[in-house]
């Protein structure tokens, strides 16, 4: 490992770089256990049906809110769980291990919907939104992507101009998670507020001129809510500006950095869930007079995937720990995102392969996992964008 010499007076990074502790704390382990039991007990029995009916998991969101899972890494003073990023990642992982739609609903809400309010909002914005967000009674959405601005997210076309103490917003957003549910409270959008100036503005659902479009017909994540948004002279008070004017670019880059940790946890979870299913199936399924798990070709797949998961998990947890320690985690988060997205796709594919024809049938969870995996190499920054981020950090 390449160890950077810590700056004078900063002994902490050196110590924690050397002291590698692979054990979860008792609290983290208990939170992981809670999420695992909840995913197995409550999510698993309904996951297939929610996916098939493309139904948003309102009941599960309510339960997760009551259990304190909808605002895990935020301070208790705002109604959050007061837990760390690693605990949060553990919960996302356990959910995605069973169902990605539920996983992303919680992850996008926490990392994309709630984060900008918590990190950039003033006290009155936080007082207005944080308690409902942390309780899971209100969902937050983050509107960055536009028809002309995806990977090139700074190419924002949506405009907001100040008029009589109000922002007047015109434009469109694309692929926005959690924006159109019955409990969606607002979308925080990036908008051009002047020449070369991007700012974030809170637009509450129900604002005249702000229309939430029909949900997309997607390859996967069927029970998660994803919609196009349009703004046609939508007016919100000037105070809905998030943080200082013109800070939008920095703010969304920071938001995406954090989101990458939870999306990485989704990839680890999905891969683990695919492995769980594949292993159980391989032990059960007989061919040529024995369990297919006894064939070397199957064993090699299981062994390889389990090894990749172990490595990807460590990278993901490291990014979470770096964030918790207040260190720069951008590089690790991008590496984790790149690694886990690809792994999820591969693990789901191998799991389907191990299931043979049954893997192509919706009764088997791996069929859904296969459809759910692909977005993980696209959303929250494509693989190619992660490579750009990583290469830049390397100084290439």
């Amino acid at each position: 490992m390449h160890l950077k010499r810590p700056a004078a007076g900063r002994s902490r990074p050196l110590r924690s770089l050397l002291a590698v502790d692979f054990d979860l704390s008792d609290e983290q382990a208990a939170i992981q256990r809670l999420a695992r039991d909840f995913a197995q007990g409550e999510v698993r029995p309904v996951a297939e049906e929610l996916d098939r009916e493309k139904r948003f998991p309102y009941e599960l969101v309510k339960q997760m809110g009551e259990l304190g899972l909808m605002g895990i890494p935020y301070p208790e003073s705002y109604g959050g769980g007061g837990a760390d990023t690693l605990s949060y990642a553990l919960v996302v992982e356990e959910l995605a291990r069973v169902d990605s739609s539920v996983g992303i609903t919680l992850a996008a809400h926490t990392s994309l919907g709630t984060w900008p309010i918590y990190a950039f909002g003033d006290e009155s914005q936080k007082a207005e939104w944080m308690p409902g967000l942390c309780a899971g009674e209100t969902l937050g959405a983050f509107g960055l992507t536009e028809p002309e601005a995806g990977s090139d997210a700074a190419n924002v076309r949506t405009r907001a101009r100040l008029e009589d103490g109000e922002w007047v917003i015109d434009g469109a957003k694309q692929f926005i998670t959690n924006s159109g549910t019955d409990i969606s409270g607002f979308v925080a959008i990036t908008a051009r507020t002047g020449e070369g100036e991007i700012s974030n503005i809170i637009v509450p659902n129900g604002t005249p001129g702000y229309a939430v479009g029909q949900a997309y017909r997607k390859m996967g994540w069927n029970a998660s809510d994803t919609r196009p948004l349009s703004f046609d002279g939508a007016r919100v008070p000037e105070e809905n500006l998030l943080g200082p004017r013109g800070m939008g670019f920095k703010q969304f880059m920071q938001t995406l950095d954090g989101g990458r940790i939870s999306v990485s946890a989704m990839g680890v979870g999905l891969a683990q869930g695919a492995l769980d299913e594949a292993l159980a199936y391989a032990r059960e399924r007989q061919a040529f007079g024995k369990s297919i798990s006894k064939f070397q070709a199957i064993q090699a797949k299981l062994a390889d995937i389990s090894t990749e998961i172990a490595a990807a998990r460590l990278l993901t947890y490291k990014a979470a720990k770096e964030k918790d320690e207040g260190r720069n985690f951008s590089l690790t988060a991008a590496q984790a995102k790149l690694k886990t997205g690809r792994l999820a796709v591969r693990a789901a594919e191998e799991a389907v392969q191990i299931h043979g024809g049954y893997g192509y049938i919706e009764e088997y969870p791996v069929c859904r996992f296969y459809r759910d995996a692909k977005i993980l190499t696209i959303g929250e920054g494509t693989d190619e964008v992660q490579q750009m981020v990583i290469a830049r950090a390397l100084g290439a």
Partner: protein, 264 residues
Amino acid sequence: MKICVLVKEVPDAAVEKRIDQSSKRIDRSGEKNLNPFDTHAIEAAMQVKEGGVVDVEEVVAVTMGPESAFRALHKAVSLGADRSIHLTDDALAGSDCCATGYALAKILEEESPDLVLLGQQSDDGECYTMGAIVADHLRMPSLTQVIKMDVEEGKLRCERQAEYGYDTVEIQLPAVISVGDAINEPRYPSLKAIMGAKKKQLDTKGIADAGIEADRVGEGGSRTSVLSINPPPAKQAGEIIEDEDTNETVGKIVSWLEERKLLA
């Protein structure tokens, strides 16, 4: 009213059970969890507390186990217990059921609860007898495999699962009740409760603190010794009834069930 709940840390259900042939004990390494049956006992205590029929001042979780067993207590308090007691001492290692029951009873004596609840079995040892042993030491009446429990002033009305059907029994308090998993649906601990678990009082005690006689516990103080340990016999093959004539098939199934007194 004061309720004590006996809890135990056991290997997680997902861990394949192994016997350590040299010590003839269960290999308890690997991931652990609170004994699932005990979560039903805690839930039963919470339902009494929240039910409002009687006033419950305190629910106290008690465990005997190695140092790591405090995690079972943290889980117990995250599920609602008010405080917990950890009996741990090198002298206790290797205690059999009777020795364990004696040691737990000594802790309970000090607490003098009105009701002692526990799971009907532990997921590892599965002796099913802890309730009875503890009750005997405490000179309290005891019921096992209780699947319904209504509390009234000074007594309980319980249904216990019998081999065929249910017994409805009234029992005077104080009493020791072991519960089956059909009694309730345990709640999940909330994240806040998990985060707050460390803040609840946990008393760690050794045998001297509890007045436990050293020669009545541990491997030396246990009067049973395991001679050998074997896997259970393989299950008998089921009976397959070919469905040729459906009326006949139904008749066969009914008589099969009747033979086993499974039809009311």
